[in-house]
Amino acid sequence: MAISFIDKRLEGIYSKVLNNSRLSKEDGIYIYETHDLIGLGQVANHVRRSLHGNKAFYIYNQHLNYTNVCKNRCRFCAYARDRKEKGAYTWSIEEIEKRLLERIDEPVNELHIVGGLNEALTFDYFIDLLKTVKKIRPKATIKAFTSVEIDYLSTLAGLSIEQTIQQLKQAGLEMMPGGGAEILNSRIHKELFPRKINHKRWLEIIRAVHRAGIKTNATMLYGHIETIEERVDHLITLRELQDETHGFSAFIPLAFHSENTKLAHIPPTTAVDDLKNVAAARLMLDNFDHIKAYWVMIGEKLAQVALSFGADDLDGTIIEERITHMAGAKSAVGLTKEQMEDMITKAGFEPVERDSFYNPKTVV
């Protein structure tokens, strides 16, 4: 397809894309710098359509944030609490059971389970948690724990990363989300989340998880103090690991929300930056199958638009999103299946309800 670029420099990037040659770091930086948003969108849309045609995916899921008590206290987080702080909570196994049963009549296909690093919990709690979820929702996939939690669980268990993963896998863990990556470099680590594992450890754990046959997602938290170059380096780091393991399923750019965080002076990301991050991900991550437009963070309206800027997946229906809403997100806390399909159809795509591994859910 011929594209009339307003920014002629995008022609070079487009011809690389058409020849299936990998984009360089300089290309990545230029993707963020160009003001030709539509030209860029058209290139990303070309890739998106050649991979997925007219399909746009979503999943019927449920989030379980088992605790907000966290010893890391990252500067960008509005969710975490200290153990004795007002609003701190930890769900017992009974509480988890209750929350699952409350929604047992809904066709939930995936449980997304993440939480803080709570020193009051033992490794057994996590094994119990997984087993309980599996018992109550045997058909749903358990997608749980970021690398940050896996690292912590291995110290709790006194086991190696590999052994820890094996134990969790036996208890029901099937997939892992991609959180805790933030921006994979030491400057950002030192400034924003010094107590959390650094990028080397994050990558090490993901590598081990992929080797154990568990797929994960990957994320990037953008819109705080990072530079464009740091974003591009982040994407290239993920691309290199993917070349090695092929264990990443989807990439999710996460727009930073500053309200109630220690970085409250930072204004929200704008639509142009959100769309560029989706397009940049689609174009730089040539070995990733899926790019998500996470509607919780960029809003339902822009997520719908993002389907034409490289995204092929709108993530989940969720119903009870907590983490981003604590940081001032104005999006809904959940979407119905009907709303999700309506958004996708009206954007000109075919909605496909999927499972955690992108198999379409066939109507029974």
Binding site: S4, L37, P267, T270, V272, K301, M343, K346
Partner: protein
């Protein structure tokens, strides 16, 4: 597909497209193809990377309205008790505050109040002009039509009297969809499409400029959107009095029309089509009031070159459950972050 390419070629050659061609493009072209065409057209009309905005305030002099439009969540029927007519003190304070905030104009609109006559409006305008040096953008065609009928005057006479009292330009509201089969369904007591156009024709003839709007996403079909734009385009050929076109989506909360709200993609497609179809109107305005900041910023790449007003106060859309607010600082930040230069303008799109 060949047909589609022919239409695209026409647009690229700056030739006019007709209703059928517009509809075909709207129905068949890919979302980003529309965006790309509209974006190029936008830069054809405005090669400078400038996005304008106006600092003003909506002043609704009354919420009492005999019209009873089914899409409206703002009005109160006469004798319902919750109605108001603005006091001179409130009016004074609101205008003073607007000027203090760097405002250059007020958008003066209100309901079709059965007890107010021409003297009221003349007095209102005179009072403002005696106290302030501010541009009055006021009274949409349904109000003018209502005042004229109530006073048994012609549209031209009514406009002349209001102009003499201080009215400078006419907002393009109350157009909704300029097709009488639709108007009968959603606003049966308001002026007809021909009456709406006649007010604008007369205003333009008297040297008053106006904007034009379109409210879509209620009971109209897609071809009505093009019929509406065709009527605006024809009148513009005749008068050249329209400064801008402002499409926005119907907000169904608290109204009597039960439909799903139009999505962002649907809004952006109509916006892009308005840039492509209205080849004789310079300015296309994004509607952050109905779309929110993110889609309004995105709209700058779908044909819009103007962000509308900072709206120190807005009541009508807010009554229908939408409460996006944008400060001047935030509005200019959005424009800058999109790679454009924000510039404050006056009612005639002159840069200030």
């Amino acid at each position: 597909m060949n047909n589609l390419n022919k239409i695209i070629k026409k647009i690229s050659a700056n030739e006019r497209i007709d209703i059928n061609e517009g509809l075909k493009l709207f129905r068949q072209a890919d979302f980003l193809t529309l965006a790309s065409l509209a974006n190029q057209k936008r830069f054809y009309y405005h090669p400078d990377k400038i996005v304008t905005y106006v600092v003003d305030r909506n002043i609704n002099y009354t919420n009492i309205c005999a019209s009873g439009c089914r899409f409206c969540a703002f009005f109160v029927t006469p004798n319902k008790g919750r109605g108001y007519i603005i006091s001179k003190k409130d009016l004074f304070d609101k205008i003073q505050e607007t000027l203090d905030l760097g405002g250059t104009q007020i958008l003066l609109q209100g309901g079709m109040h059965p007890d107010l006559d021409l003297d009221y409006y003349v007095d209102l305008l005179t009072y403002i002009k005696e106290n302030f040096d501010i541009h009055i953008h006021g009274f949409s065609p349904p109000e003018i039509d209502f005042i004229a009928k109530k006073s048994s005057l012609s549209i031209a006479q009514t406009l002349l009297i209001l102009k003499k009292a201080g009215l400078s330009s006419i907002p393009g509201g109350g157009a909704e969809i300029l097709c009488d089969d639709i108007r009968e369904k959603v606003s049966p007591n308001k002026c007809s499409s021909e009456e709406w156009l006649e007010v604008m024709r007369q205003a333009h003839a008297q040297g008053m400029r106006s904007s034009a709007t379109m409210m879509f996403g209620h009971v109209e079909k897609d071809f009505h959107i093009f019929e509406h734009m065709d009527k605006i385009r024809n009148l513009q050929d005749e008068t050249h009095g329209f400064t801008a076109f402002i499409p926005w989506t119907f907000q169904p909360d608290n109204t009597k029309i039960l439909v799903k709200k139009k999505t962002a993609v649907e809004y952006l497609k109509v916006l892009a089509m308005s840039r492509l179809f209205l080849d004789n109107i310079n300015n296309i305005q994004a509607s952050w009031v109905t779309q929110g900041d993110k889609i309004a910023q995105t709209a700058l790449f779908f044909g819009a070159n103007d962000m509308g007003s900072t709206m120190i106060e807005e009541n009508v859309v807010a009554s229908a459950g939408v409460d996006f607010m944008l400060s001047k600082e935030e509005l200019t930040r959005l424009i800058t972050k999109a790679g454009f230069e924000p510039r404050q303008r006056d009612c005639y799109y002159n840069l200030l």
